[in-house]
């Protein structure tokens, strides 16, 4: 449905996007994740034809956005970061204007009513947009993107400014839209992307740093198998006993956490479960285990690791060494 090839965007000497490529099948919800200024909005603006790429091409439904912009634009519903609303119009007037602007062919009254019911703004139809709360403005923005049932929806931070209840509603809405539409949404809120998207692309500094399903991303990046154990006993005995467990590659002493209680980080080979051997070793010596948790990376950690690139990854090992 969407094919992005080698997208590069330069603002003067500043490289905002650096050779981004991906393809999206119909009916996928893609989450675009990245810190502020990573290039999420720029990518979306290029796909929608608001900006032009310095290099590369985008096709939407088979139509190139530069060579055949009208056909490509007809297939896209876009909610920009700041919803493009006219404050001096009522919701009804605005949607009716957007309906005409987009040259929608569906029966006007019914179509607008249907969409307003979907995003739950039907009781706000005669209010001036200027007087709406941020959450309602956001919904009017979403309604505007849905006009004409475009096969592709591009939503730039769709849940910003909504209250928790509305966020859940909008997420469910996006999920249900994802069955018929191809959706690209951007966010820097991880749980949101995790909850809604089939596929995640993480961008940082204008380049794709990861691409996959939420689970595969977390899995790929947490290949290392790490266990945090808190045990009571003599420090050096504990250390040697843990080290002696078959499958254990590295044991790091994280220090005395309670009087006589030490915490260790136990690292093993890939895909081995170290919890039972550790328990057995402790039982053998009658060392009480006061806590044990496997430190699988959450998506949050994956994200921070990906975008933290140079900063955190370099800093982390040093800290660990210092702790030893």
């Amino acid at each position: 449905m969407i094919e992005v090839k080698n997208l590069t965007k330069r603002y003067g000497s500043n490289l905002a996007l650096n050779h981004i490529s991906f393809t999206l099948e119909e009916g996928t919800i893609l989450g675009f994740l990245g810190p502020n200024g990573a290039g999420k909005s720029t990518t979306m603006n290029i796909i929608t034809g608001y900006l032009s790429p310095t290099e590369g091409s985008v096709t939407v439904g088979g139509f190139d956005t530069l060579e055949n912009p009208m056909e490509a634009k007809k297939r896209i519903g876009y909610l920009p970061e700041i919803p493009p609303l006219y404050n001096d119009m009522t919701v009804r007037e605005y949607l009716s204007f957007m309906y005409e602007l987009k040259k929608v062919k569906l029966p006007k009254k019914e179509h607008i009513a249907e969409i307003c019911a979907l995003v739950k703004i039907d009781d706000m139809m005669n209010r001036l947009i200027a007087n709406l709360s941020k959450g309602y403005k956001q919904r009017v923005g979403i309604a505007q993107a849905l006009l004409g049932n475009p096969p592709v929806l591009i939503l730039d931070e769709p849940t910003v400014g909504l209250d928790p209840k509305q966020i859940i509603e909008i997420r469910n809405l996006i999920k249900s839209l994802g069955q018929k539409h191809t959706v690209i949404l951007s966010s820097h809120i991880l749980p949101e992307v995790q909850a809604v998207c089939d596929r995640i692309i993480v961008v940082n500094r204008g380049a794709i740093v990861a691409d996959g399903t939420p689970d595969s991303l977390a899995h790929d990046l947490s290949r290392e198998n790490r266990l945090l154990v808190r045990m009571e006993g003599a420090e050096s005995d504990l250390h040697t006993a843990l080290q002696a467990i078959p499958g254990v590659e590295h044991v790091t002493n994280l220090g005395e956490k309670e009087p006589g209680v030490y915490e260790f980080s136990v690292e093993g080979a890939e895909h081995t479960d170290l919890r039972r051997p550790v328990f057995d070793a402790a039982a053998q010596h009658h060392w009480p285990i006061l806590g044990m948790k496997s430190s699988d990376l959450t998506l949050e950690e994956v994200f921070l690791r990906l975008i933290g690139g140079e900063t955190s990854e370099e800093a982390e090992p040093e800290e660990k060494e210092a702790a030893v």
């Binding site: 700041i82 493009p84 404050n87 602007l101």
Partner: protein, 235 residues
């Protein structure tokens, strides 16, 4: 294009802008009609009313166009326009036609006293119609310039003052022609002047060259505005 035209026309009359411009111009028209009536001859409607109104109209027109694209850029609503399946040409034309329609309504309104006078006297309608047509032409050209300037900035104030500057220049440029020592320079200045282009209309001369001039100015600036919108994508 029709969607944008309707939206723009609506916004002229849901905000005070359209009313304020019309009110100020109508008040001034009223004043000049009054002075023509003091003279007691409808012959002076063209020369007395419409030619005096030239300068005031040129001052008011920048207000009509100052928010045209500046406001869209500032509120980021241009994103909706530029990502909709509409060409930049139709966006610009829609906006231009809406502002021209407002000015056209004002011009029609300005004829009300002349119509009333026609019950008591026989004004020269051919002369008046020619003058109104001429007024509409310089207005259209000025509106196109104003729309272009507003596409250059996000600030309505900057757009308004910039357009004022251009409009003042176009009003007084023929006065420099006397000062220019060079004959060619004087010719060019005269050629550019809206004033010297418009004056023949008020004397009952239907000058084809002037019609082409005003229409070309409007076309050129509308074209430039469309290019400007297009070029923003490449920044």
């Amino acid at each position: 294009m029709t969607a944008i035209f309707k939206k723009e026309l609506r916004s002229y009359f849901t905000s005070p802008v359209g009313y304020v411009c019309a009110a100020v111009l109508f008040a001034l028209y009223g004043f000049y009609y009054y002075s023509v009536m003091l003279v007691g001859s409808t012959y002076y409607i063209a020369a007395g009313v419409y030619s005096s109104m030239f300068i005031w109209s040129m001052m008011i027109l920048p207000i009509l166009t100052m928010r045209s694209f500046s406001e869209e850029q500032k509120n980021k609503t241009d994103q909706a326009l530029l990502t909709a399946p509409v060409g930049t040409g139709s966006i610009v034309l829609g906006k231009f036609l809406a502002s021209a329609a407002v000015y056209g309504i004002i011009m029609l309104g300005s004829l009300v006293p002349a119509v009333v006078l026609s019950f008591f006297s026989a004004p020269n309608w051919a002369l008046i119609a020619g003058t109104v047509f001429g007024s509409f032409l310089y207005g259209a050209a000025m509106l196109a310039i104003g729309i272009f300037i507003s596409s250059l900035t996000q600030s309505q104030i900057v757009a308004a003052i910039g357009t004022f500057g251009v409009s003042i220049l176009l009003v007084i440029v023929d006065q420099f022609s006397g000062m220019a020592g060079n004959e060619t320079a004087a010719k060019i200045l005269n050629w550019l002047s809206f004033n010297s282009r418009y004056t023949p209309f008020t004397n009952g001369i239907f000058n084809f060259a002037s019609i082409v001039f005003f229409l070309s100015v409007a076309a050129v600036f509308l074209f430039l505005t469309a290019r400007k919108l297009e070029s923003r994508r490449w920044n």
